[in-house]
Amino acid sequence: MSPELKTQITGIDPEKIRIDFPILGRKVHNKPLVYFDNAATTQKPQVVIDALVNYYTGLNSNVHRGVHYLSQQATVAFEEVRQKIQRFINARFCHEIIYTRGCTESINLVAASWGRANIGPGDEILISGMEHHSNIVPWQMLCEEKGAALKVCPLHPDGSLDMQAYSAMLGEKTRMVAITHISNTLGTVNPVKEITRLAHEKGITVLIDGAQALSHMKVDVQDIGCDFYAFSAHKVYGPMGIGGLYGREEVLNAMPPYQGGGEMIKSVTFEKTIYNELPFKFEAGTPNVGDVIGFGAAIEYISNIGLDQIGAWEHELLAYATEKLSADPLVRIIGTAPGKASLISFLIDGIHPYDAGTIIDHMGIAVRTGTHCTQPLMDSLGISGTIRASFAFYNTKQEIDRLIEAIEKVKEFFL
């Protein structure tokens, strides 16, 4: 390795970091794996895998119920993670953190529960043109049920949000703004604080889809000021099937429950049920304790490395990849907003993304091709899909070089 490929600036040595992620040592199609599909899901460090194994080998029991030792220990561990998440995103209270299956369920929870109580005929919900299907479809379902209308804020050609249009679209009838923090297709980082401020001036509730953000930057929900913030653990080096919803206490308290069942009740008679308080009101049934504990380990792991360090190295990777890809006249980068997060969507002139992706895969490199669950965005860009390389802090510049070589190979194959 040549010395300039290692970074002194950020203090992150990816070669050392990589040792923490066992999967990065494997081969794919007989070549060392290059994992550039981090926006879809991130890999798990050994400490997260260990936390899962340790939970099931030494702690497994149901939470909040038993007086017995294991149940109490599991409950403590489970609730400690809630506090970790609270600190991680700087919520005021730990009961403002609701465990869910992930970002998608968090958004559905808000659409179903908050939406049921607050949306009526003629009301408007404002989303943006870069939303993931998870932040489109729940609102569409709500609108259909309530006779409300879904409005879509347009984007500038570089993939940034048209803030002038946004301001103008916040109208008398707008009840909810639901916008992503970071676009999983374009990499655009939206000005969520400003978005929230403008909506709040008009008394409009704000949900931020944080699925892509938590792994790349320090998120402070109080500073943003939003009412809801949705996220998934698996995109932050944690397990799949677990995630969370941050909701401001006042807003959560005013909402009806989401699902009914055990855990979310205080007392039940056949005549009337008294609901439990926050956060349990929104957590019906036995929760996913093991994965919560894995999530806790992931948060601790990246907090120890430091999100500033992580962000800095990822930006270095992004700059390097952007420079290399831009040098190729046949490559067109989709999404060039300033201050992007570390992912690049691109097309190779005259080559279908699926064809390119198939060859790149055979070179041992995992990239995503297709619409990335943002079909309306693809339609508005007039393209059928892109190739997307999304970087994490365990990626290296040598891996980007391998992607560039793979693109050369793709061109040999198809042009």
Binding site: H352, Y354, D355, T358, I359, H362, S384
Partner: protein, 143 residues
């Protein structure tokens, strides 16, 4: 030629490749040489759902045999379409319904191409079999 004869010919063609690059080069060649579909058949109704690339499949029945034509905007997908058309086009509905698609495993395509949802190969086969069933029913009703 019977379906099995075609599929075993395809299997031996693929056996001669010793690395994936040769195999894909061949598929790409097949994609580029796929007979052109009549533009009027490249319509929404002929689009196969569930593919990352767009695939159009058109079928015509002459009373005995089904004739397929296809196109795609991705070359590898076109190559696969070419193999399927070579196998199934010009065959009677019953033969198509009775045929096995094991040969695709043998040539390492189900294994090496990305999963079904994106490559559309299985969707194409399903559609081919659906046409066979529909034409078989139609022929039976005509008698």
């Amino acid at each position: 030629m019977k379906i099995e004869e075609t599929t075993s010919a395809i299997v031996s063609e693929f056996e001669s490749f010793d690395d994936w690059m040769d195999k894909y080069n061949y598929l790409i060649e097949l994609g580029k040489s796929l007979p052109l579909i009549d533009e009027k058949y490249k319509v929404e109704a002929n689009l196969i759902q569930g593919c990352q690339s767009r695939v159009w499949l058109h079928a015509e029945f002459d009373g005995n045999l089904i004739h397929f034509t296809a196109d795609s905007d991705a070359v590898i997908t076109k190559g696969i379409a070419n193999l399927l058309i070579r196998t199934f086009s010009g065959q009677p509905p019953q033969e198509i319904l009775d045929s096995s698609t094991e040969f695709l495993k043998e040539i390492g395509l189900t294994e090496h191409l990305s999963p079904t949802r994106s490559n559309g190969m299985l969707s194409m086969i399903k559609q081919i079999k659906m046409y066979a069933l529909a034409f078989k029913t139609k022929a039976a009703m005509g008698n």
